[in-house]
Symmetry: C2
Subunit: 246 residues, 2 copies
């Protein structure tokens, strides 16, 4: 069963509240590092997997993309995207990546931001994405970092007697699979995979790694949002750019 947590009313409300904050992990940490790896978009045909409310898809159009398809499992998100952005050659569709119909060699660029840790069959989805890419195409994605997902749902940050953060726990690293946690609501399910699995799955689907980023916050970002200091101690996110090799 594919998880559609973003259409849970309580979750969506909490999520909106976080994303609407002026300073959050997305806009201070994940976004700038993700955007730094975006190639030239002029004339490109792009798929955004997990497009949310369509901001990034629309930005791609503004930056010269020929066509952008945005998909998202959430009805809420796709409804908002369609309301927010109306452009020729900018399409939004409610669909999970597992169900979305993709033709061979359809896209120049496929992007996915903080979505693929929700996917149960990572290998099948990566193979599907790779098949839909044109030779030399770019696949750019971010995901929760394996260091961060390994022991999710159990102990992560340990506090000392004074209530200060003492250290971060890594455990169950080689036990890949479901991690259930409370995030806004109970039982948000994601999947932990090792770095080796992530990298080798891409390579096995003819996607050559070009760059890995484990985002480090700038000093300015830490001033805005002091909890970002923790990112020096262990990475929350992993961003990868890969190129289709044939």
């Amino acid at each position: 069963m594919k998880q559609n947590i973003y259409d849970n009313e309580q979750f969506f409300k909490g999520y909106e509240e976080i994303r609407n904050r002026k300073f959050n992990y997305n806009n201070l940490l994940e976004r700038p590092n993700f955007l730094a790896l975006i190639p030239d978009l002029h004339g490109k045909v792009i798929l955004d997997v997990g497009c949310g409310k369509g901001d990034f898809a629309n930005d791609c159009m503004e930056k010269g993309a020929l066509q952008v398809d945005g998909i998202d499992i959430s009805r809420n998100m796709i409804a908002a995207a369609k309301r927010n952005y109306k452009k020729e050659r900018l399409h939004f569709q409610q669909a999970a990546i597992e169900d979305f119909v993709l033709s061979d060699r359809q896209y120049d660029i496929i992007c996915s931001s903080l979505v693929l840790h929700y996917v149960a069959d990572f290998e099948a989805v990566i193979e599907k994405i790779s098949n839909a890419m044109r030779p030399n195409g770019i696949f750019l994605f971010s995901i929760e970092h394996p260091i961060s997902t390994a022991n999710k749902g159990k102990e992560q940050w340990i506090k000392d007697e004074a209530g200060e953060l003492s250290h971060f726990v890594v455990d169950r690293y080689q036990h890949e699979g479901e991690r259930s946690q409370h995030w806004l609501v109970d039982n948000v399910v994601m999947y932990h995979r090792s770095m080796a699995t992530i990298v080798n799955t891409l390579i096995g689907s003819n996607l050559q790694i070009e760059k890995i980023i484990e985002p480090v916050p700038t000093n300015e970002a830490i001033e805005y949002l002091p909890t970002l200091q923790k990112e020096h101690r262990r990475p929350s996110f992993l961003i990868m750019r890969a190129r289709k090799s044939n």
Copy 2:
């Protein structure tokens, strides 16, 4: 100053004792996974960086290599290698990789087992190695895993009140650089680098990642050496194979 800890008498004695044990982390975990990534060696010209007593270099000759050069910073190791193995086209030399003179496009395969975490200037050494490789050549190395090196010298395994292992600590992940620890003797210095730095340094030197292994012990290995069970909880080693792309 390049570290030559293996010529410290006390260290060498302790190291010998560990390596001579029938079951250790090397022969049960690192070796089998490293060897699994070795390509066909027939007719190949090979460099082994940190060859120790020359066992692997000699194995390469036995498996059909045309020529094997083994270098090691340790006088002790090179003396043993020269004593143990005498073959035409099998050469041993006492040298740090930083000082060893390499010609362009000299080698088909360069190997290095558990050495590069001792190197201060990783980028310079990787560039040097890449330059010495023939187009399409293979670079295969193992290194202590970034999860394992991040907080080395400070807290790593935390024990509970009963003295059992509770969990493993990751901290200071983004603070790359020296880690000093007691291992057989005081102040053994190694260098922590993030996964992103390791991968991006290779790619920046035209070495395309082909495979990553974070070794998991077999059940049989755990029967021989029960402490290997910990490897399910966090990886000690990282093994990578990369191909020279031009």
